[in-house]
């Protein structure tokens, strides 16, 4: 009798491996005999995590120069390992980058690995708060040529050597494809987050090592998909770019900051003198929804800002959770469905990624629909349905308004382009 158990691929590591795992799930989606699971190396294990590690047939594991993957000890010794290098250029390009974190709604919060750059920028920001003018402070930052700039080539060299060492420990060496082009291409959006092209180098190596039949069309489609690690692209300090002869970045290069693109100077101006409350309003609503803060207040937060983000899977999902908690099952089902559809359509683009598994989302939606079907005491049976219909009508009208606005702009443009009457 054939073995009904799927071939289980267990992937562990950091955000780079999360990309690899998501992509593997995509390219093996048509093959029910293959199952892919991922566990982050930095998160504590739950009971089902242990089973995923213990029962796997192959472990795609990340190797780093310093720490061992904590999942390795749980995977059976007999299971083959595919060792993948954890790529990084720690702190070389981003030594002086502002690192704005969406958890902090007013000012940026720096993670430890950008300590140097942020410390210097924090100094400028503190001077601004003490009453100095913003423009000279930003100019001071951009003209800075301190030890971080002076020492950058040596740090760069150290990192290259560290990555070469790592490439030799892995089962395939992605670094050899990267190193010759460091000056002319961007390979990392931030310290660890790779560009899609860099992620594809890792993915193709893993797929080759796995040697399983796969959908090559899905692999090609992935390489053309939206960037995976959005929405923050660390700006490169212009003097650092000069010192390292980086041709892919300069004073005019725009780097993504959530829903906008800024030059390094604009980033610095915002870090030193800016206020991020508006930028982070949606993040705050999502954070409050996840933390199960006051549901009515969180719903109001969503209503105030989510119209700016019409295709945001995370916003849809967590707004649905809040509405669900408020007993608005019809509206909740509408947003659950939208988040679910978005996640199935664009599993890799972060703006659409709802940050919980599709199965869980589907389960929440089913629960919500069951509740809608049940009459509630004191409430008319079809209230939830009416709300959902209203919500759908609202979405339809919004789309119609967009079309009409586009037509109006077009008409204005045509009128202005028409030659004047003789």
């Amino acid at each position: 009798m054939p073995d009904a158990r799927p071939y289980r691929i267990f992937v562990s590591g950091n955000c780079q491996m999360q990309f690899v795992a998501d992509a593997l799930a995509r390219i093996y989606a048509g093959e029910p005999a293959i199952a892919v699971s991922f566990r982050a190396a930095h998160r504590p294990a739950h009971a089902d995590d242990l089973a995923a590690a213990r029962d796997c047939d192959v472990h795609v594991v990340q190797v780093t120069n310093l720490a061992a993957d904590p999942w390795s000890a749980l995977v059976p010794a007999a299971a083959p390992r595919i060792r993948v290098a954890a790529l990084a250029l720690p702190g070389v390009y981003h030594a002086l980058a502002p690192r704005i974190h969406p958890d902090h709604t007013q000012r940026g919060r720096q993670p430890f690995y950008l300590a140097r750059g942020n410390r210097m920028l924090d100094g400028f920001a503190a001077r601004f708060r003490r009453g100095e003018e913003a423009a000279p402070l930003v100019a001071g930052y951009l003209a800075y040529r301190g030890a971080e700039i002076e020492n950058a080539p040596r740090l760069f060299e150290m990192n290259r050597l560290a990555m070469r060492r790592l490439g030799q420990q892995a089962d395939f060496d992605p670094w050899r494809a990267i190193e010759p082009h460091l000056a002319e291409r961007r390979f990392f959006w931030s310290v660890k987050h790779p560009t899609l092209a860099t992620g594809m180098i890792l993915l193709r190596g893993v797929v080759a090592m796995l040697a399983l039949p796969y959908d090559s069309g899905a692999l090609d489609a992935l390489s053309r998909a939206p960037e995976y690690h959005e929405p923050y692209h660390a700006p490169i300090h212009p003097r650092l770019a000069e010192r390292l002869n980086l041709t892919w970045t300069g004073d005019e290069t725009r780097h993504r900051f959530f829903h906008a693109y800024f030059t390094a100077a604009e980033h610095a101006a915002r870090y030193i003198a800016g206020d991020f409350r508006r930028d982070f309003a949606l993040n705050r609503a999502i954070r409050d929804a996840r933390a199960r803060a006051d549901a009515a207040a969180t719903a109001a937060l969503f209503r105030a800002c989510r119209a700016q983000f019409p295709d945001h899977g995370q916003a849809d999902l967590w707004y649905a959770r809040v509405l669900h908690r408020l007993g608005k099952a019809g509206m909740a089902a509408f947003y659950y469905r939208r988040a679910l559809e978005g996640a199935q359509r664009h599993p890799h683009a972060v703006p659409h990624r709802a940050d919980v598994p599709v199965e869980k989302m589907a389960a929440w939606l089913r629960q919500c629909e069951r509740e809608r079907a049940m009459p509630r005491a004191g409430a008319p049976r079809d209230l939830a349905g009416s709300l959902a219909r209203l919500e759908a009508e609202g979405a339809r009208l919004t789309a119609r308004i967009r079309v009409l606005e586009a037509r109006r702009r077009l008409t204005t443009l045509r009128a202005s382009a028409r030659p004047a009457a003789p």
Binding site: P90, A115, A147, L161, A162, V191
Partner: protein
């Protein structure tokens, strides 16, 4: 420089380069990865800063091979002696 001085210098540099709170007392038996803020991302910058402060040149590949800080301290001591000679 004594072992204790070297360990204190390392603690200062880790805090400076990682932004983490200054680690408590480090000993020769402490493993780098157990020090808050010291990880594969901050490691190269910690080594660069040690180079700067001690006026030596560190073999980065070698720096990953020490089981504990004792190995690193001995290695740095050898480099500084060589630099002083």
């Amino acid at each position: 420089m004594s072992d204790a001085d070297m360990l204190r210098l390392i603690a200062d540099i880790v805090a400076e380069e990682s932004g983490a709170r200054r680690p408590g007392r480090l000993t020769r038996a402490t493993r780098a990865i157990a020090v808050p803020g010291w990880d594969s991302l901050s490691h190269a910058r910690i080594m660069l800063s040690l180079e700067d402060r001690l006026g030596v040149r560190i073999d980065i590949a070698r720096s990953y091979e020490f089981d504990d800080l004792g190995g690193l301290v001995d290695y740095l001591a050898r480099l500084t002696r060589r630099a002083d000679a």
